[in-house]
């Protein structure tokens, strides 16, 4: 991360990630064009470009939507999440090529402005079959543009993580608009059952993946913590927490990461200030709790990012009773120092 608003250098991992994306996209377009020309040699360059970019953008969008829940279900997918925004910007660029070439191809020969033509050429809003599907695609493209334009951390800091995240949740609206754009557009004209099947399968796949991830998190959140002593809630036994790692605990309102580090226990809010990553799924590196998503770091004893960074999260009061860990669910203000609870030989 960068503390100043300057372009962030391309590290090796980013270069590899982006090279794979670029290579995959070019390979897809070439393969698509090749197979299409094999079955339809009369296809023009414009048609090949419009169709290959449309299917590629749709595929990329489904991959992007799958990364989040896949990471919640299995940590091995985390490397994909690290540069998900690069994939998002690539998807927007590919979708833009589709949108711009389609507008030129289908609206460029008229005597009105291309954009005006897109907006007024079809007004059959009362018909589902003849619905102006191009407007749905245009609306989705505008959302994707807004997301790509604000994808840099500059906007994340200026808009605040909460507003930024809300803005970027519009990806779901864009996804739905694109599904309808395809169903009410090319599917109505081509009547290709394979296209319909693939679209339905994609929708079911993404939905099931999100529901599975939600169910997994709900199981953790819904664990009943009946034990309560003097306002403290029972978390677990000391032995249940591995060194340099955490146990995520749901207080009834928020998730808390209870870390074990150098024979002491610390509790901080589970949500990273950067993009809401689960801090409790990270590890302690160089004395700092490290977010598994993008590597943002926090000191366990006060929830503050080490200088010069200024992010900070809430800390919580812990206590040990025998070998059991207990937490006060009321958080301290963000960045409040809280000495770790020493693990005694008896508790160990």
């Amino acid at each position: 991360m960068s503390v100043a608003y300057t372009a962030i250098g391309w590290n090796r991992q980013k270069k590899i990630y982006d090279s794979i994306i670029a290579f995959s996209c070019v390979t897809y377009i070439v393969l698509f064009a090749g197979v299409t020309l094999l079955f339809n040699p009369e296809a023009t360059f414009e048609t090949l470009l419009i169709r290959s970019t449309s299917t590629l953008a749709l595929l990329l969008l489904h991959i992007i939507l799958a990364i989040g829940p896949a990471c919640r279900l299995n940590k091995r997918f985390l490397p994909l999440l690290y540069n998900r925004r690069h994939l998002g910007v690539t998807m927007f660029l590919v979708a833009s090529i589709h949108g711009i070439f389609s507008m030129i191809q289908f609206h460029g020969l008229g005597n009105v402005n291309i954009l005006v033509s897109v907006l007024i050429s079809n007004t059959s809003f009362q018909s589902l079959h003849a619905f102006p599907f191009q407007l749905l695609g245009l609306a989705a493209l505008l959302i994707l543009f807004m997301m790509a334009a604000t994808s840099h951390d500059f906007w994340l800091h200026n808009l605040s993580p909460r507003v930024w995240k809300k803005l970027h949740m519009l990806v779901y609206l864009a996804w739905v608009l694109i599904l309808l754009h395809v169903m009410l557009g090319v599917v109505q004209l081509e009547r290709n059952p394979v296209m319909v099947l693939m679209l339905f399968a994609g929708f079911v796949f993404i939905t099931v993946l999100h529901l599975l991830a939600a169910a997994k998190e709900n199981r953790t959140d819904n664990l009943k913590n009946v034990a309560e002593k003097d306002g403290f809630l029972y978390v677990c036994k000391v032995q249940d927490i591995a060194e340099n790692r955490a146990k995520i605990f749901f207080t009834g309102k928020e998730r808390v990461a209870v870390y074990r580090y150098e024979d002491a226990l610390y509790a901080i809010h589970n949500v990273c200030k950067h993009q809401g990553g689960p801090l409790g799924e990270g590890i302690i590196k160089d004395g700092c709790i490290t977010c598994p998503w993008h590597g943002y770091q926090y000191l366990p004893q006060n929830g503050q990012s080490p200088p010069p960074f200024r992010e900070k999260v809430s800390t919580y009061e812990l206590k040990l009773i025998g070998d059991t860990v207990w937490i006060n669910p009321v958080p301290f203000p963000e960045g409040t120092s809280q000495a770790g609870v020493k693990i005694t030989d008896h508790a160990r």
Partner: protein, 147 residues
């Protein structure tokens, strides 16, 4: 995610699961049974062998073609340049005057290229013959040629 964002996320997914499947299903059900006609098939034109009258300007070339016994006539029209109007109609008029209501419509021209129009004449066409390029939208004569 924080609690409020988690709640928002959950609401979004409730909405997606409830609204999108019926919409997808509905759009699948309204797919028409009949295949749309995408191709415009034009019967191949047989070009008549003899050019009887020919003429033209920098914008077009017009040839009146016929067979050996002059029983079938055809207008070969070559548009050398793009029309300044969306489309125009070619009329054939016998004599030097032009009345759209009385003249014979040969055909419609649009872009640059070669057009062939059958003519109604079944006997030898006699001079003078006038061909008029008429902009029917603005109701004005764009060009003409006399044979």
């Amino acid at each position: 995610m924080e609690r409020t964002l988690r709640k928002r996320h959950r609401q979004i997914w409730y909405a997606i699961v409830m609204i999108v499947p019926p919409l997808l299903l509905l759009s699948w059900l309204v797919i028409p049974d009949t295949a749309p006609v995408k191709e415009i098939r034009i019967a191949p034109v047989t070009v008549l062998p003899e050019i009887v009258y020919a003429g033209g300007t920098e914008n077009f070339q017009a040839n009146l073609r016929s067979n050996a016994d002059r029983t079938i006539w055809q207008l070969e029209w070559i548009n050398k340049k793009v029309l300044a109007v969306p489309s125009a109609v070619i009329y054939k008029s016998n004599g030097n005057t032009f009345d759209p209501a009385a003249a014979q419509i040969a055909g419609r021209i649009e872009t640059k290229g070669r057009y062939y129009f059958p003519l109604q004449d079944t006997t030898a066409i006699r001079r003078p013959v006038k061909l008029i390029v008429y902009d029917f939208i603005h109701e004005r004569v764009i060009d003409s040629i006399n044979f």
